[in-house]
């Protein structure tokens, strides 16, 4: 009886693992799908990677960076995020400054979210909320809700997406009613006004190195 149960358990485990693998292999992100589906696919893929990775839980920033690079950033138009945050100053920046600024800002944001990403566990669930935009629009908002622990408030996360020739790209994110770009615009212009664009790049890099 006992052995039978063990057999059954083993069989079950193998089946579950098999399903897990096959669904993981299938979950390629389709950037031309409906925006809600696209976000769901990106989130599912990233979550399954994060949940299965022990070095994420131990707060390994290098590994988190790698995951963000591989599974999140391909679906983000980061240049646009930086351009909009810099506002009118973007046109004053040289191509080198633009690249340096995008990279520095990107590191800042990965730092922002790496803390949250280390908290992803098996209880983390992600739910897309009903779509409210127009069906054919090229600039849309996808709303979602993330539940971290069973006994905590879910967090509202919204994504702003634009349809590009290569499919949907996320360019802004809203955490509990606060848009990311909007929240960096004044800080950017303040820095640029004081110390120029290079000053802003320096300030970001300095921030990124401190704790």
């Amino acid at each position: 009886m006992n052995r039978l149960r063990r057999h059954a358990l083993f069989f079950l485990a193998v089946t579950v693992a098999g399903i897990g693998f096959s669904s993981q292999a299938l979950s390629k992100v389709d950037a031309n799908a409906e925006p809600t589906q696209f976000v769901q696919q990106v989130a599912d893929q990233a979550l399954s990677i994060l949940k299965g990775d022990p070095s994420v839980k131990s707060g390994d920033i290098a590994r988190i960076n790698q995951i963000v690079d591989q599974y999140i950033l391909p679906y983000v138009d980061f240049q646009k995020t930086t351009r909009l945050a810099a506002g009118k100053y973007w046109r004053q920046a040289t191509p080198e400054q633009r690249t340096a600024l995008s990279n520095a800002f990107r590191t800042t944001l990965v730092r922002t979210y790496s803390g949250a990403l280390t908290k992803v566990d098996d209880g983390t669930s992600f739910k897309i909320l009903p779509f409210r935009g127009e069906a054919g629009a090229n600039d849309v908002v996808v709303r979602s809700q993330v539940t971290q622990m069973t006994n905590a408030q879910p967090i509202q996360l919204d994504y702003r997406l634009e349809k590009t020739p290569s499919g949907w790209k996320i360019y802004d994110i809203n955490v509990e009613n606060v848009w990311l770009i909007e929240n960096y615009r004044n800080q950017f212009s303040q820095q640029i006004n004081q110390n120029g664009i290079d000053g802003l790049i320096q300030a970001l890099n300095k921030r990124n190195q401190s704790n």
């Binding site: 909009l84 506002g87 009118k88 973007w90 046109r91 800042t108 944001l109 730092r111 922002t112 803390g115 409210r132 935009g133 908002v141 709303r143 809700q145 069973t150 006994n151 905590a152 408030q153 879910p154 509202q156 919204d158 702003r160 802004d172 509990e176 009613n177 606060v178 848009w179 770009i181 909007e182 929240n183 960096y184 615009r185 004044n186 800080q187 950017f188 212009s189 303040q190 820095q191 006004n193 004081q194 802003l200 300030a203 970001l204 921030r207 704790n211």
Partner: protein, 287 residues
Amino acid sequence: MSIKQTDASYAMNPHSSTDKRSCAIARLAGIAAVALVTGCAGPAGTIPNPNDPWEGSNRAIYQFNDEFDKGILRPVSELYAFVMPQPVRTCIHNMFMNLGEIWSAINSTLQGRHEDAINTWGRFMLNTTLGVGGCIDVASANGAKRIPNDFGVTLGVWGLSPGPYVVLPFLGASSVRDTVGTAANFTFNQIDVIGSISDVAWRNSIYGVEVVSRREALLDVSKTVDRTALDPYSFIRDAYLQRRNAQVQGNTALVQTLPNYDDDEAVEEDKKALGMESPKQTSKESK
């Protein structure tokens, strides 16, 4: 404050910490004139923010709050987090939040958001009974998220504009409208439960625990702000204004409240095309 004045004050006072402290004291004492004479303006080169005309004094109070937080409130909250196991902290926090639901629901009603009000009352009743006096947030676990609400939002829904941004001593980010709201919140929130405890020592102890519990729940958030903000003051201000605006607009208006990032770029472009220069650039060049 004009740009010229800001520049002048920067020349006299490039961010020395002792000056900042005396600014804080002057501002806290409410002696605006003294503060002006000693040169307490916003940071150098700051474009006057239309939402924050009192930036100089706000920054001073912000700094005072920050020092109070770093010196007292945060260490106490960290100690609390260290000695109390997570489930106990969550339970205590949930209980305070649960008591706050009553005032939230009343405000939802005052705003004509009856669905929110019904949901909040439902949460309150479910969590008070099944959730053992609010200790367990059963409602959230069943997908009914808390709908935070207060009298500042009510005034906004009734048509009051927020007015300038204000940093209140100890309480932090606010606006003129929300300061009025906060006064009402203090008066009416929990009037029924904690406020009705007649033993002063008991009542004040419970208020103390509430402050620590609320601060503890925000430890992660404040750490993130410290790690990522270029200027924590601006970061908190802009987040606060965005969030309050969204709360007043309500969830249904989300599409309309989307920020329009391209706007001032386009205006700038048009001005250039017409051969006009914005006043900001002129002042920068003259500097």
